[in-house]
Every structure is written in structure tokens, then in C-alpha cells.
């Protein structure tokens, strides 16, 4: 059987489907009438992506300016040349994915889960390539403050990103929140790379890189909780 024949059969069967009741359509149209007013369309994607990148850069720089650029000073030229452009590219990718996840019918680059996995692997590979030192001395006492700081700076990034994207989130809010959480986590990592002078590979791989998955998980959990509440409320 040829594909064209299957097409014909599908078309024939589709035409045989019962029509929608006109009364139902009139009811739907009438229900929209009271709230019919002009709306302002959502911003262009490029503008939203640029705004998100600016937010990440601003939060990371503001955090490092306040706490000190010790990490940047401790890094050598190769470290700086590799880390910050890579972070900028990853932030751009995460921002694009976030924007596209909030707008229905957008062309998608990668899924939010694939984005998170890809960025985590990329960070581990980058840090593993650049840094050496796997001593476990003071691993936890020095690591917890870094993790907390990274997450602390992810919060304002996430809030500002939500503000920028608040008119979107029209379809899969969990996927959109995961992508936004990933983006916020990257801002936290950028701030840590600027500020933290501990260049031990184990410290960075464990405490810096884990900011991204934790932040993404927090975003997904928050969206899931809100979606569940809305479901239970019957909305």
C-alpha cells in the first residue's frame, strides 16, 4: 500500500467525522465577549533573550563587585579565556530555551531536561579540564558557603527572569521553570567564578557546578507545586 493511498484513507475518514455543534461554537464565542479587549503582544524573542543575558551578567557582576573579584584575580589567562566565554554561551543557550519554552508554538532547540544535562556535563568537562587538585581537606566547610552563595545569587536572577517572562508560561510551565532555573543557576556559577579563589578541582566540580542542577530542580519543583495547587483548585 502506497503512502498516497493511506493519505486518501485518512482524509476520507477525517471528513466523515461528525461536525461540531454550531451552538457550542456560539456559546464559546459569547463567553469570550465580556473580556474582549485589546492586548499588548509579548516582546520579540531576541529582546527577551538579551534581557535575560543582561540580568545574569548584572547579578553575577553585582555580586562579585560586592564580595570581591578574588576568583578572577586568582585565575590565569587561560582559565579566564575559557570559563567566561563558555559561561556566556551557556547562558545564551539557556536564555533562548527559557524564552522558547514560555511561548506556544516556538521552534525548540533542546528540551529543558536536555539543556540541564548538557550544561551540567559541559561545566564538569570545562572545570575538570582547567583545574587540578582533588584534596578533600576542608572540602565541606569551604564548599557549603560557596554553594549557598551561588544559590543565593540564583534567586534574584530567577525572580528577575520570571518578571521578564511573566506574560509567557502559556503551555508547559514546568519545562519553562526548569529552563529558567538552569539559567539562574548559571548566574550563580558565574558569580562564584568571579568571586571564589578556591581553584581546587574537587571544590569547583562539587560545589560550584552543583548550583545549576539544584537551581533547576528548585524551579521545576516550584512550578510543579503551583501547577498541582491550580489543579486541586480546579482551575
Amino acid at each position: 500500500m502506497k503512502d498516497r493511498e493511506i493519505d486518501e484513507i485518512l482524509k476520507t475518514t477525517a471528513q466523515a467525522a461528525p461536525p461540531v455543534e454550531p451552538a457550542l461554537l456560539d456559546r464559546v464565542a459569547a463567553s469570550l465577549k465580556p473580556s474582549m479587549r485589546p492586548v499588548r503582544t509579548i516582546w520579540p524573542a531576541w529582546l527577551l533573550v538579551s534581557l535575560l543575558i543582561l540580568i545574569c551578567a548584572a547579578v553575577a557582576l553585582a555580586g562579585a563587585a560586592k564580595s570581591g573579584f578574588f576568583g578572577f584575580q586568582a585565575q590565569n589567562a587561560l582559565d579566564r579565556a575559557m570559563i567566561f566565554p563558555a559561561l556566556l554561551i551557556l547562558i545564551g543557550l539557556a536564555a533562548t530555551t527559557s524564552v522558547r519554552a514560555t511561548i506556544p508554538g516556538s521552534r525548540r532547540l533542546v528540551s529543558s531536561a536536555a539543556l540541564l544535562a548538557g550544561i551540567s556535563v559541559a561545566l564538569i568537562a570545562l572545570f575538570g579540564f582547567l583545574f587540578r587538585g582533588y584534596q578533600t581537606e576542608n572540602l565541606v566547610p569551604h564548599g557549603i558557603p560557596c554553594l549557598a552563595t551561588g544559590l543565593l545569587y540564583a534567586i534574584p536572577t530567577a525572580l528577575a527572569s520570571w518578571l521578564a517572562l511573566r506574560r509567557g508560561f502559556a503551555v508547559n510551565s514546568i519545562a519553562a521553570a526548569t529552563a529558567a532555573g538552569t539559567l539562574a543557576g548559571l548566574a550563580g556559577v558565574a558569580m562564584l567564578e568571579l568571586h571564589c579563589a578556591n581553584l581546587q578541582a574537587l571544590h569547583i566540580l562539587l560545589w560550584h557546578a552543583s548550583v545549576v542542577p539544584l537551581s533547576a530542580a528548585a524551579g521545576a519543583l516550584l512550578a510543579w507545586t503551583l501547577a498541582n495547587k491550580r489543579f486541586l483548585a480546579g482551575r
Binding site: D3, I9, A29, T41, V59, G63, R107, P145, L147, H203
Partner: protein, 290 residues
């Protein structure tokens, strides 16, 4: 020699204060930016401003339109797109006259209607409802919803579309936008049905109440034909072959890649071929994916 290790900042750092200030500034900026980034002639920036923004809004209106806006009657839109006046400019439900002009004109017409809908034109909304509801309804029925469920899902979809109509950007493909929302509504409905079924299981077992009318109300033809396909393949076939969307549009609507859509369509056709051959329809020859 690298600097000695230093722990990161304490969580007590006033980063949250910076964050709050940043959020406040962002709120202020986002309240005003659209006036300056919208293109001249962009008729979508027509929301009613707050009193404090009124003078700026009038300035913007003059800047982009050259004159105060008049209520949209549809005639100017047809004139600007070159589309012929037809029954869909009002409350008519037919769309054959647009189809006869070809898909490009149909998309243009839908875009025009969508733009008018965003401007608050109720007749455009009604025309869209009458134009797109049959295919959205079929989309729900194909997913094995009963007729009643499909009606409910259709209403819910239009309410959601109305709520998020600002997320459609002029110039973007219209159908993927509608289908993405419809698809999301269907997924929500599916989750809700699973939860409801889980809660109602015990009651059914206890009282042994027979409830089979739902199956009887299903549309037998298309739904039965696509029955052996998984949900993902079924929706791809419905959009590609029944609704007549392109691969790119289906990929947008389903948040996947074109390659993934092709693969799903290919697998679905393999299954359909087997099923139709088993039913004794058509020959046994294979063909490429058209």
C-alpha cells in the same frame, strides 16, 4: 602561585537586597519598554494604559499610527493583505473560499484574524472559533476523547487561547500556536483523567456499575483507524495529514524537532500500512513518505 583558598561569601550577605532592588527596577523597566520597542504601525500595542501612562500612550499612538486609532472593521485588514472579502469576516463558519486560494492565503487570513482578535475585535474571534474549531475538535477526538470530552476540551482550549492570546506574535505561524495550546490542554486533561480514575477505581469495583456509553459516543472512523498508534504518533499524523500542517509547523506545535516528527510519521505509516493491509484495503506495496 595562586591565591590561597577562600570560602565563598556567607549566606548572610545582602545579596537578597540587591535582588529585590533589581526586581523592582526590572518591574519599572518592563512597564515602559514596549512603548519604545514596538515597530511603527504595530497595531498590537493598543492596550488601555494606566492613567499615569496616558499622555505617553497618546504620544506613542501618534508616533506609530499617525492618528488616533479607529475601531477595526475588518475591511482595512483585507485591503492590506490583499485577501478577498469572504464569509469568514463575520460569523460564518465556512472556510472553503480561503482554502481555494491556497495555504499561503489561508495562513495570511488567519494571521489577520489573529491580529484583529488581539486588538479586541470580537467578530475576528468568532471567525477564528468557527474556522479552527472543527479541526481542533477532531484533534481531541482522535486522541480517543469521547464526543462530550472533546466538546469540553474545545471550550477549555478557547478559554486558554483567550487568556494567552498576547503570546502570539504577528508573523509567526498561527496553526502551531493554536495546536501547542490544544495539545497542552489535552495533556492536562489526560493527567486529570488518570487522577480521577485512580480515585474512582474503588467505587467501581465495589458497586460494579457498568459504564460503557463513553465508548459508544466515540467517533469510530478516524479514531478507530489510528487506534494502534501511540499518542505521540497519532497527534503527528492528525496534524500532518488531516490538518495539513507542514513538518516544521508540527515540530513547533509538539515542541520537538523536524527529524523527530519525520521519524514518528514514518513509524506511524508503517503501522497504518500493516493495519490497512490486514483489513484488506489497498495493495501490499510500500512507498516513500510523501
Amino acid at each position: 602561585m595562586r591565591a590561597p583558598p577562600q570560602p565563598g561569601s556567607s549566606p548572610k550577605d545582602p545579596g537578597i537586597v540587591i535582588g529585590v532592588l533589581f526586581v523592582w527596577a526590572g518591574w519599572k523597566v518592563t512597564a515602559n519598554v514596549p512603548y519604545f520597542f514596538a515597530a511603527p504601525g504595530d497595531a498590537t500595542v493598543t492596550f488601555r494604559p494606566r492613567p499615569s501612562n496616558r499622555s505617553r500612550w497618546h504620544f506613542y499612538e501618534r508616533l506609530t499610527h499617525g492618528a488616533a486609532m479607529t475601531p477595526f472593521d475588518g475591511a482595512s485588514a483585507r485591503a492590506s493583505t490583499g485577501a478577498a472579502p469572504g464569509p469568514n469576516s463575520g460569523h460564518n463558519s465556512g472556510n472553503d473560499w480561503v482554502r481555494s486560494l491556497g495555504p499561503m492565503y489561508m495562513d495570511k487570513d488567519l494571521e489577520t484574524l489573529m491580529a484583529r482578535y488581539q486588538q479586541g475585535d470580537h467578530s475576528a474571534a468568532t471567525a477564528l472559533i468557527h474556522r479552527l474549531s472543527p479541526q481542533l475538535h477532531r484533534f481531541f477526538i482522535v486522541q480517543f476523547a469521547s464526543r462530550g470530552d472533546a466538546d469540553d476540551l474545545l471550550q477549555e482550549t478557547w478559554l486558554r487561547i483567550h487568556k494567552v492570546r498576547h503570546t502570539y506574535r504577528p508573523g509567526e505561524p498561527v496553526l502551531p500556536w493554536f495546536y501547542a495550546i490544544a495539545r497542552h490542554i489535552r495533556v492536562d486533561h489526560y493527567r486529570k483523567a488518570i487522577r480521577t480514575a485512580a480515585r474512582e477505581q474503588r467505587l467501581e469495583e465495589t458497586h460494579e456499575v457498568a459504564s460503557k456509553p463513553a465508548a459508544a459516543s466515540k467517533t469510530p472512523d478516524l479514531a478507530a483507524l489510528l487506534e494502534p498508534l501511540p499518542n505521540s504518533q497519532r497527534e503527528v499524523i492528525e496534524m500532518l495529514k488531516v490538518a495539513g500542517m507542514s513538518l516544521e509547523e508540527v515540530a513547533r506545535a509538539t515542541s520537538s524537532s523536524v527529524g523527530s516528527v519525520k521519524q514518528k510519521a514514518h513509524r506511524a505509516y508503517e503501522r497504518l500500512r500493516e493495519r490497512l493491509t490486514a483489513m484488506g484495503l489497498g495493495s501490499d506495496r510500500k512507498g516513500g513518505l510523501s
